[in-house]
Symmetry: C2
Subunit: 501 residues, 2 copies
């Protein structure tokens, strides 16, 4: 029978705590896919809570796709292929806080890390400052009225044309410049989409996933549901059960797991969207430019016959995070309604920069830059992986999803070293000496030890929405901004921090 320790409930409501606990048990396979759950009445009496509480919890779990009901038979655990397995830890919230801590006064910048695996930064030596300056100069030399005029909310026509051509050439997407809208970062696009589609719709997100999407959706007052992905990405059945209207997806390269949604599943997703008039898929193609093997996959947008896919991409990954230029491709049928709603507004991106980027793309510098960066990142990744395989981690490390994007997953097997052991009475060097009384791996301490070595390295679990606690040591290694010459030293420092060497 299911055991729930209500003593750990803290300030959470009974139902909320029950939901969280059951989610954890499902995600950690303590409740197995297909397993029949106790009846509401049985569980209620077992746990000493009211039947209504259990009923509300079950309903919530059905809505979010964790369990399903079969009439006259009962409730069953959904077959979710969890991306990772989980154990419990008490430090999740604390880590989150530490990770987001910010100097109160903001007079000082954040501390610099020797190696920062969290931010997807770009090395300044890799950015073509000279070309950019040259083109800026060309643009400013025009000195014409167009440079100073308020820009249509969709953005500068020249840039939209350049993007349309680029999408045709590199993504095989047939879109008209009219469908393209330029905005100041993907966050702005998410905002506009909620404002346009309506905040009463239910927005589903991939779990784990890119949490900023949820933050923006919530700021916009939308109803947000994070749904667990399986090995093929988002399952449309879960979308249906959760009553989702709009879903944010990264089918070509899920962040951060790297999962690629196969064609059959893609078609199922498109079919899901076509079934009701207000259903839309927001396809976030944030890093498709950096696929190392083979051609980039076809976008959902290309396969969309129903006008239900809104395609989003950004220049933050390919140029630099400081560029606040992203764009979306609206289905043709949404162009006019969108224009009507935002007619009063101006495009948020400076016209100078839009004209400059348009020239940067159409003079061929952009695709050259991507090719150069792809080669550079491939080498960087190879060097980094090689360093791991030659390190003390070699027998305990698994690397996955390294074929695309600017990150991979690094899993350290906990049993391989006392420092990572989940339960230990040891009191020697390494993490072990902080873990007492059978406590599980303490992510906060791990993070602190890494930071002391100048390393910032996020855990996969940081990308999950649950407040449930899990502590598997899988790291998301965002390597785009690290220095090549720091690699060896970085791995050494990681050994010291993690293994206490």
């Amino acid at each position: 029978m299911i055991t729930i320790d209500f003593d750990k409930r803290g300030s959470a409501g009974l139902c909320e705590f029950l939901v969280d606990s059951l989610k954890t048990q499902i995600l950690t396979n303590r409740l197995i896919a297909g397993e029949k759950l106790p009846s509401k009445r049985t569980l209620a009496s077992h746990l000493g809570v009211s039947v209504i509480t259990v009923q509300n919890a079950y309903n919530e779990l059905i809505a979010t796709g964790y369990i399903y009901s079969i009439e006259k038979k009962g409730f069953f655990v959904t077959e979710i292929m969890p991306v990772q397995s989980f154990a419990t830890s008490d430090s999740h919230e604390a880590t989150k806080k530490a990770g987001h801590a910010h100097a109160l006064s903001n007079t000082k910048p954040e501390p610099k890390f020797f190696t920062d695996f969290r931010s997807n930064s770009t090395l300044s030596e890799k950015f073509p400052f000279n070309v950019w300056a040259k083109i800026s100069r060309q643009v400013l030399n025009r000195a014409d009225d167009a440079l100073l005029e308020r820009q249509d909310v969709f953005g500068v026509w020249e840039l939209r044309e350049a993007i349309a051509k680029y999408l045709l050439e590199f993504r095989n997407m047939q879109v008209r410049p009219e469908q393209i809208l330029i905005a100041a970062g993907t966050e702005s696009l998410y905002s506009m989409l909620v404002q346009f589609l309506g905040r009463t719709l239910r927005y589903a997100l991939e779990n784990p996933g890119y949490k900023k999407v949820a933050s923006v959706f919530k700021l916009e007052g939308a109803r947000v549901t994070a749904l667990p992905i399986d090995s093929e990405g988002m399952n449309p059945e879960l979308l249906k059960r959760a009553g989702a209207d709009v879903v944010h997806l990264s089918p070509s390269h899920h962040f951060p797991t790297g999962i690629v949604t196969p064609i059959r599943r893609r078609n199922q997703l498109l079919n899901w969207a076509s079934e009701k008039p207000h259903r839309y898929i927001i396809e976030d193609d944030y890093d498709s430019e950096f696929r190392f093997n083979g051609k980039p996959l076809q976008t959902l947008q290309s396969g969309d016959k129903f006008g239900r896919v809104i395609y989003i991409n950004t220049f933050s990954k390919t140029l630099a995070p400081s560029f606040r230029i992203s764009y979306m491709v609206l289905p043709a049928n949404l162009v006019e309604p969108f224009r009507k709603k935002f007619e009063f507004a101006s495009c948020q991106v400076s016209a100078f920069e839009q004209f400059t980027l348009a020239q940067f793309i159409s003079q061929g510098y952009y695709s050259k830059h991507i090719i150069r960066m792809k080669n550079y990142y491939r080498t960087l990744r190879n060097n980094l992986i090689q360093a791991f395989t030659q390190s003390k981690f070699k027998d305990m490390a698994t690397i996955r999803e390294e074929e695309a994007g600017l990150h991979f997953l690094l899993t350290l097997k906990a049993d391989e070293h006392p420092g990572l052991k989940k339960r230990t009475n040891e009191n020697r060097s390494g993490l072990g000496n902080r873990i007492q009384n059978g406590a599980t791996l303490n992510a906060e301490i791990l993070d602190a030890r890494l930071r002391r070595e100048g390393i910032r390295l996020p855990l996969l679990r940081d990308y999950f929405y649950e407040t449930t606690k899990h502590s598997e040591t899988t790291f998301v290694v965002n390597y785009s901004g690290i220095k090549k010459e720091h690699i060896v030293q970085t791995v050494k420092r990681m050994e010291k921090a993690i293994l206490g060497g």
Copy 2:
């Protein structure tokens, strides 16, 4: 007794129509300030509607400040000093539509006007492209990591420091860079403010006013109330009666009437804000740089002892509309909560442009540019006013609020010329020949005739929120973008369009 022609109700609800009609009668002084309104029962029976309908209408009018009730005595008309007097016209909606019309395909830019008095554009010959290009080059030559890094949601520190110094020097405002947040246009700031303060609060706006604010607030799902201003701007009594929590104001130079809120009223507004913990004033100081006589007025922000004024300004007016850089100054106590809420987000403005603008300001080019533009605009305004006073309009034109900002009000007295007569049976040249059967001045036709001459000239009434109809011929002359050498020809064309010469 109040007469309402319910035949003209169209698709509006009974209550809604009653509210609109009463508002019109108050604004046009058909119902005089202090006048006692009929009791609910009397009016209901007189109009043949239910008492509930009248009651709801009265409540709505009380909430929006048009009327007030005194216990046991009844309902009275509020003393609102209307900025303008109003007559009725049937073409308001049509004009609005025409003014906002947009090519469906967006393949072509909007038609260019010989003279456009609507957009506050900047002439390219007046923009220091060379200096900007030089500084851009300087910034790009740094080629350092800071240029490429994701920027804190508050923006680039260097720019915030430059703005703080500028505000001290030119606005005598003592603010710390920590309080300053950079965003992509004032629209983005309005959005963030609703997201931060909450969409359940009631947001009050100046009527007439800058309508984009309402558009953004509504997109954000906030509750919005437009309140009539009097000769001193917004009256805090109306804010109280309307149950407003937040108010958007332009106290130093109201747009478009140019009203300057005097000190006593300012203090009343600050007191209003201080009375409840969730009350805030958004002070929009959009064009204070261009005050032609005397020093700029002290900002509300400077007088704010309670931490209730959020100051907003933009570079769109002083540099060019294509610049999407605006900023706000948060009260010190809101800085940390704001940071907490938007911690996940990045500043929306490109770092290149922020660093460039920072240098443009701190190297002194910005204040030089403003002084140069102020002189240029003063001359432009003088030439334009002179042209009017030497034209056929000379005996019928009144010009007001020309001491500041980049626009003034031009009122043509309708009785002075048959073309503008409100009721006419004439069928000769001029507007008169289109106005038959005693119809009132048709703004749509006026607009069409002006456009045919290549002139875009907005009416003051376009800046009101009411759907009620009024047609006084007061124009808002936004002159910043017109060409000096076009002035004489422009006035000639206006004569032809308006007077049918």
